[in-house]
Subunit: 550 residues, 2 copies
């Protein structure tokens, strides 16, 4: 690809198109004119406007997660970048190849600290990106952008940032667009055979082994390899810890599935060999009350990123390789016979897991409880449904009760950046247009991204938002309960009461079909109406404000 | 003040109370429990919950601007801080003493990069604050916070940041709270008499002098001194450039008032001596087409912050001093008689100014225009009204047409961080409860802070929001027009169309009294209804989507 003289803005668009990008998620200002103007040359290129940058970046993240392809968010100055950082953190944790472009004022204004200028804008992005660079010359724009795409996709993948000054964008660029194929090496690396033999021997002789499936297993397309290994060994598989959960690495519908990793569970405590495949070990939420790996257990950690192995706890065998190649090598290295006899172990572990998904806690008559809502939701999640989960207090309950088969039945974030699903669900739907996409949020999370409704309505993206409205920051009250001070004594929880918003009415104000219901039993009918509606819709279901989580 | 053993969280509250803080604007999470718990000891201390950090910080900023006293926003982790940075920039530019506290996970989790942890959270705040520090020991909390208050108030005032780890907050602190009176020096400095004589001589001999009133004149309470000087000299006074406008330094109702500084105006071009008092010279929005100071004019710049003088253009006489002391010294140094004869100059300049506020541009029949809205608004702005302005395309028109008498009739931001008024108006109203507070926003700006409506409704803060809804990012289209490419050729403006939201309906969803009107003539009645309503209200007025600004 060659580029005759054209504006920097057109060179940006050409580079995006070379990388296969056909839409950009943006909240522009005056500094993006040259790029926006260039998009008019290509009727197949879509400018997806969002009225807040948090939506632009979470939508790009959802799209990148769902497709595995790079997605672009184009923001305006340090202010737009700052507004997006929370969800850029979500993209970072999911290794999502989001390329964030940010228009900056002309160089002279940057020197003068002009309007919307601060020194070194890219530094704001630094905690969240693999690389950040502000283009210094118009001629460098295609190569700088090409590098950002390359690094976003280089394992361990993740967001990158490029700053584009308005003067460079308006100037003439003659540099050709590099050919992306020459900058996208296949990064699938094979494991050291010696370490595979060691791990195979550990597994073969284990009395109660456990496989733990991380998000990277799904992201690297290694779910089949993990299933084959689990079936050959006849062992239980758990998905990784809730606190790091981004997407399932193992199907919840598989007979070997046994819930989520949690060091407090008997299943985990009783395991003598644990194989973590593509897991992040671990993301602590609070001061640990005990180790997250049971003492005495032998640990195998397979991960494509060496930096993940031994992050907090030491391992017996650390294998740096693509998870799929490592898992098939492990399967091949198992002895043809002579595997330890583990009769009954899988049944026991499954029984423990199923007990946790059993009868609901007693219901209050006057107000719905969350477990009932989760079960009603579970009935709505078919093979072709994708749930985009973003509920804080309710998150653990959803993970326990909803079907989650990889690759696409469940996406969530371990970022803590509430409101992520408001944009992410839009990106997921655009990336997987044939699927039925349902975003599930708490009302607290909803309030971090109501502007997503505008984009959903504007582009008629048929996502169903389900807002579980307990009218509370239950997480705040739960923290006060753990703190155990005056709040607990008095039963008063400052910072908890989030009542007053009629979320369904707000949705209607944005042009989204909104319904409010009060009982889980009404969810089926409401979902049917929502799905029959041609555009986006929102269901608000009111739940117990006093329930503070499991 | 002494502190016996109490939690770090209680020590934080004690320090806040010692500095006179009686409310905190917050969007908390789990890391703020010890502080929230402590607030229950003091029924007079108010926890103002906001469902997004941008509202917490802009409300604190509004409160600090309106009162001149420090205000506190308490946020949760790097995510909450990131969400607030845009409006922290607004506080920075207005020299607003906002102390931002941010709860962090315990130190162990910070090492482990646990949930909601990134390295060095305070670095995110660095471009926006005068100082950032993460407390390292519980015993240091009172002194660290005391320092943050001191620096926030030390001239040139501005925001500061303190990170507070959860483990320190829960631990016992025995350190006493310092006495704030001992840490708040009077920073009013007097000018060098020699420089004052020089400036007085320049002014006395000038044929067509001009005084320019900056925001710092109002912030430092020097409006009376500036009026006295202007009256003695009989010269016109303009408020500072629109691009740096935060608040008026000179009353628009004064007979010497002559509009806004703009180097393209004849009034400015024809001036031979220009005195900038407490102005920021300058904040450029685009590449300058000519100098912002007319060639040949002699320049006197009075500012309390030496770093402001000579920022872009050189000066003839730079005077570093409190603006009030400098202006009175200047008045005293003027000759008793022998001032240059400037008959007619003031009348000429006033005539030029008044021409710009004259007849409206021709109206479209089918849709209202912005100038008519501005004039209808102007009729609603009484002596006791405070307008909190946050309109992009419309901003210049509002500044030209609304009454703006210091100290409290008009506040706005030069930050470019849209949505600022959604929270700032709440803070202004809490700071000035006797005043009638009207926030004026464009629909684009509104979409950056709809969550402010939740807080307005929850605390029944009787602010009237007026949203001028042109269903457009007119600034984006205006930039494409200036760019002059394909967009102009085709009359297609990607990124402009923001139609679809029913802002009044969204307001009602938040529990705010919402009205939509279509004509400026309806504004009076709508405002009367809004003001009669006991709680907050919102008026949405639909205007021409094709108007791209002056």
């Amino acid at each position: 690809m060659t580029g005759a003289g054209r504006s920097g803005g057109r060179a940006v668009l050409e580079t995006l198109r070379a990388w296969g990008v056909r839409r950009v998620f943006t909240c522009p200002g005056s500094t993006e004119a040259a790029f926006l103007d260039a998009t008019l040359d290509h009727p197949d290129f879509e400018v997806v406007l969002t009225p807040h940058e948090s939506i632009a970046v979470s939508a790009a993240d959802g799209y990148a997660r769902a497709t595995g392809e790079p997605a672009v968010a184009y923001l305006h100055t340090h202010l737009g970048l700052a507004n997006s950082l929370g969800h850029l953190n979500a993209a970072r944790l999911a290794h999502s190849p989001v390329v964030v472009l940010t228009g900056l004022k002309p160089a002279l204004l940057q020197s003068h600290r002009g309007f919307t200028c601060v020194p070194d804008t890219g530094r704001l992005a630094e905690p969240y990106v693999r690389a950040q660079w502000q283009s210094l010359r118009t001629e460098d724009i295609p190569a700088d952008l090409n590098r950002a795409f390359r690094l976003a996709l280089t394992e361990p993948a993740g967001p990158t940032w490029v700053g584009l000054s308005q003067d460079l964008m308006n100037d003439t660029c003659t540099a050709p667009v590099p050919d992306p194929q020459r900058y996208r090496p296949r990064a699938r690396t094979a494991p050291d055979p010696e370490l595979i033999r060691e791990a195979a021997a550990l597994l073969a002789s284990a009395a109660s082994p456990l496989l733990v499936a991380g998000a990277e297993v799904a992201r690297h397309g290694a779910v089949g390899e993990l299933i084959a290994l689990a079936e050959r060994l006849g062992v239980p598989v758990v998905n990784e810890d809730r606190r790091t959960y981004e997407r399932p690495g193992f199907p919840t519908s598989h007979p070997n599935f046994a819930g989520l990793y949690d060091a407090r569970r008997a299943t985990v405590r009783d395991s003598d060999v644990i194989v973590f495949a593509g897991c992040h070990c671990f993301t602590e939420f609070e001061m640990p009350v005990g180790p997250d790996v049971p003492e005495g257990a032998r640990v195998v950690h397979i991960h494509s990123d060496a930096a993940e192995i031994g992050h907090i706890y030491g391992v017996d065998t650390g294998i740096v390789a693509d998870e799929g190649l490592a898992l098939s090598a492990l399967l091949a290295a198992l002895p043809q016979d002579g595997l330890a006899v583990r009769a009954g172990r899988l049944d026991e572990v499954r029984a423990e897991y199923l007990a946790g998904t059993g009868p609901l806690p007693p219901e209050r008559e006057d107000v719905e409880n969350v477990a009932a809502v989760a079960d009603a939701l579970a009935e709505q999640v078919g093979e072709n449904t994708t749930v985009v989960g973003d509920a804080t207090t309710t998150g653990a309950i959803l993970l326990r009760r909803l079907p989650q088969d990889p690759p696409h039945q469940y996406y969530t974030t371990s970022s803590g950046s509430l409101g992520w699903a408001m944009g992410a669900a839009l990106g997921v739907k655009l990336g997987l247009p044939e699927r039925d996409v349902v975003a599930v949020l708490g009302d607290g999370a909803f309030q971090f991204g109501p502007q997503g409704l505008w984009a959903a309505a504007r582009y008629q993206i048929p996502v169903t938002y389900v807002v579980i409205n307990n009218e509370s920051y239950a997480a705040v009250a739960a923290a006060l309960r753990r703190y155990g001070g005056t709040a607990v004594e008095r039963g008063e929880f400052p910072g908890k009461d989030l009542s007053g918003a009629d979320v369904a009415a707000i949705a209607r104000g944005y042009g989204v079909f909104g319904q409010r219901i009060h009982k889980a039993a009404e969810l089926g009918e409401a979902m049917a109406k929502a799905r029959a509606h041609p555009g986006p819709s929102l269901i608000e279901i009111m739940t117990d404000p006093d329930y503070l989580g499991p």
